[in-house]
Subunit: 357 residues, 2 copies
């Protein structure tokens, strides 16, 4: 990696790793004959988006109306806003839906009533289902409420009922691949049961989407669409969950080394919460891990250095818990890499990348 | 508050509260005859900066070269970059120091050697001292190392040795006002001892600066300069530390209500980690608190609603742990306010404010 132009914390994107991540998921989706509608909230980048387009992806997911507008401006015209509809943004949604095919999420009758009053153009609608995560959505067992929503959607000409959508985010709270597989199986069971129950309402799609499930599970039978997002970059959290290997993590934050404290075996880097976010992994010994440490080489970066890690963060400061060998080898003014714990939040903070080709 | 233009998460700044916070700290500094060099990393805003200027503040602190450049462009010409010098930014520092009076921080000889080789214009230098926080700085008892640095600074014509600077950030890990007072006393004792020991080197300034100390301590005798930053807005963390009351918190994130889940007494708002940051307070019962909840009124917002709080955050989602009364009273599409846990990180993410006058 050419380092001479980097003088402050900068997000480095390894294009080759990223392309491999994208292709692997696309191939898996194709093999399973499910629609691949990747979530673009992780990269939020027209350039990275173009790498998906090059291999034939044409439908995307975003998490906000603003993001939908950004990608619509960059040539994407089939977009699902995977966040329960915010009725205050109906004017913007109406504007955007004159230009692109837009899908929204509904999980309650109050929102649906406002949507029906205000919708001006054709909108696709998914009912958001909660299969156990407990964040958003109607519980999959609330059949009556779901039926009521379907009927209310179907009696509005501007709304096209697509099916059921869920995000099994509780895969992020697991300790093994088996737990993730079990959650996927439970989610699939609940979703396909709903599809069957409501099959009298015509074609019903099932859309699922967390990166841990989509990475670990091989068989998507019964599913119509997957919407993973984080897999495009992966991160240390996904490595800990078993979704990826270190070699799949496609982003690293390059941070200048500013001080070394031999007496406490610590190194201070320029790189803090405003660059990486404050997301951490709580380790078995009770310490917090804010990132793993890598050294850059000619083309990219090496595997994380064992037994050292980013142990604390403030606004601009990062502290590496190191050892005498590391401290001896590193120099003030060197650039050291940090693999982020949560690449979505890091990319959101950094906005831009240096792309390694 | 006029709410009709706010359709997505927006940071609301109550100017009156902010002005009171600024004036209170300025008055305290004046009364103690210490220089007031507020840290502008919290607001990062030329407009908020102008409110300081109006009451006679002319020197500021920032945490990055980029921030120094921004405020230099906005008329500030006496700036301390309170982050250990990053040698990779020397070209930018040399450019900036042709225009404004700049102070930098040094805590090791390696950095100082590079600085001496590369410095082109007059720069003020503080030696960063660690009085117990353990993040950056030379330990106050490392007299030999400090002496060596002073000598090396003094034999360079472009460098002007100003004195010792510390940030007693361990006040953030306390459980009572008394603990904060004790840390301040210990810090002051260590810093004044250094000043006395090195008094043969001419005038030596002592600069201290955390918001908890500056808010709680009344007597700054022995100190030459204070650099608090967070006090301009305060936040829930400062309220928990005892630095402020709820009535002093000058920012709230306005968030649209998107769903209500009666069965689990929770409310989903549009407002997540990309708006507030993932900073939380760990409560005695083991739950995490990501923000307190307020209702807006005609002019500003009321006190936090008791027994409900923001209990989890993902990228765009926020979950309020609520009760039946709250859920009954609130409607989809209402705007609810969140007092942030850490206003510096929230303001950094949001970039802009709606200012209530």
């Amino acid at each position: 990696m050419k380092q001479n132009k980097i003088i402050r914390p900068s997000l480095i994107l390894d294009k080759q790793k990223c392309i491999v991540n994208i292709s692997r998921m696309k191939t898996k989706a194709d093999k399973n004959k499910v629609k691949f509608r990747p979530h673009f909230k992780t990269h939020q980048s027209a350039i990275v988006g173009s790498w998906f387009k090059e291999i034939g992806v044409s439908s995307i997911t975003v998490s906000s109306v603003e993001m939908a507008k950004y990608f619509a401006c960059n040539g994407w015209n089939d977009i699902t806003i995977a966040f329960p509809l915010n009725v205050l943004e109906m004017d913007e949604i109406n504007k955007l839906s004159t230009k692109v095919s837009l899908n929204v999420l509904i999980d309650n009758i109050e929102t649906l009533s406002v949507l029906k009053q205000k919708v001006e153009n054709r909108l696709g609608v998914y009912i958001k289902i909660d299969t156990g995560y407990g964040r958003a959505g109607i519980k999959s067992e609330d059949i009556e409420e779901i039926e009521c929503l379907i009927n209310e959607i179907k009696n509005c000409n501007s709304l096209l009922f697509h099916g059921f959508l869920t995000h099994a985010g509780h895969t992020y709270h697991t300790n093994s691949k088996n737990e993730i597989k079990n959650i996927f199986f439970e989610t699939k069971t609940k979703m396909t049961a709903l599809k069957k129950y409501f099959s009298k309402n015509g074609d019903i799609e099932i859309s699922v989407g967390d990166t841990p499930s989509c990475s670990i599970v091989d068989d998507f039978s019964g599913i119509d669409e997957i919407r993973p997002g984080n897999f495009v970059f992966y991160d240390v959290m996904q490595k800990y969950l078993g979704s990826c290997g270190y070699e799949d993590i496609a982003v690293a934050l390059a941070c200048p080394v500013v001080a070394k404290y031999k007496s406490r075996n610590e190194v201070l880097i320029y790189g803090g919460g405003v660059h990486l976010s404050k997301e951490f992994i709580l380790m078995p010994d009770g310490n917090k891990l804010f990132g793993e440490i890598v050294k850059f080489d000619k083309n990219s970066w090496k595997k994380p250095i064992e037994n050292i890690y980013l142990s604390s963060l403030s606004q601009e400061h990062g502290i590496i818990k190191a050892n005498p060998e590391f401290i001896e080898a590193i120099k003030i003014g060197d650039l050291i890499g940090v693999l982020p714990v949560h690449s979505c939040l890091t990319a959101n903070l950094m906005k831009d990348f240096y792309i390694l080709k």
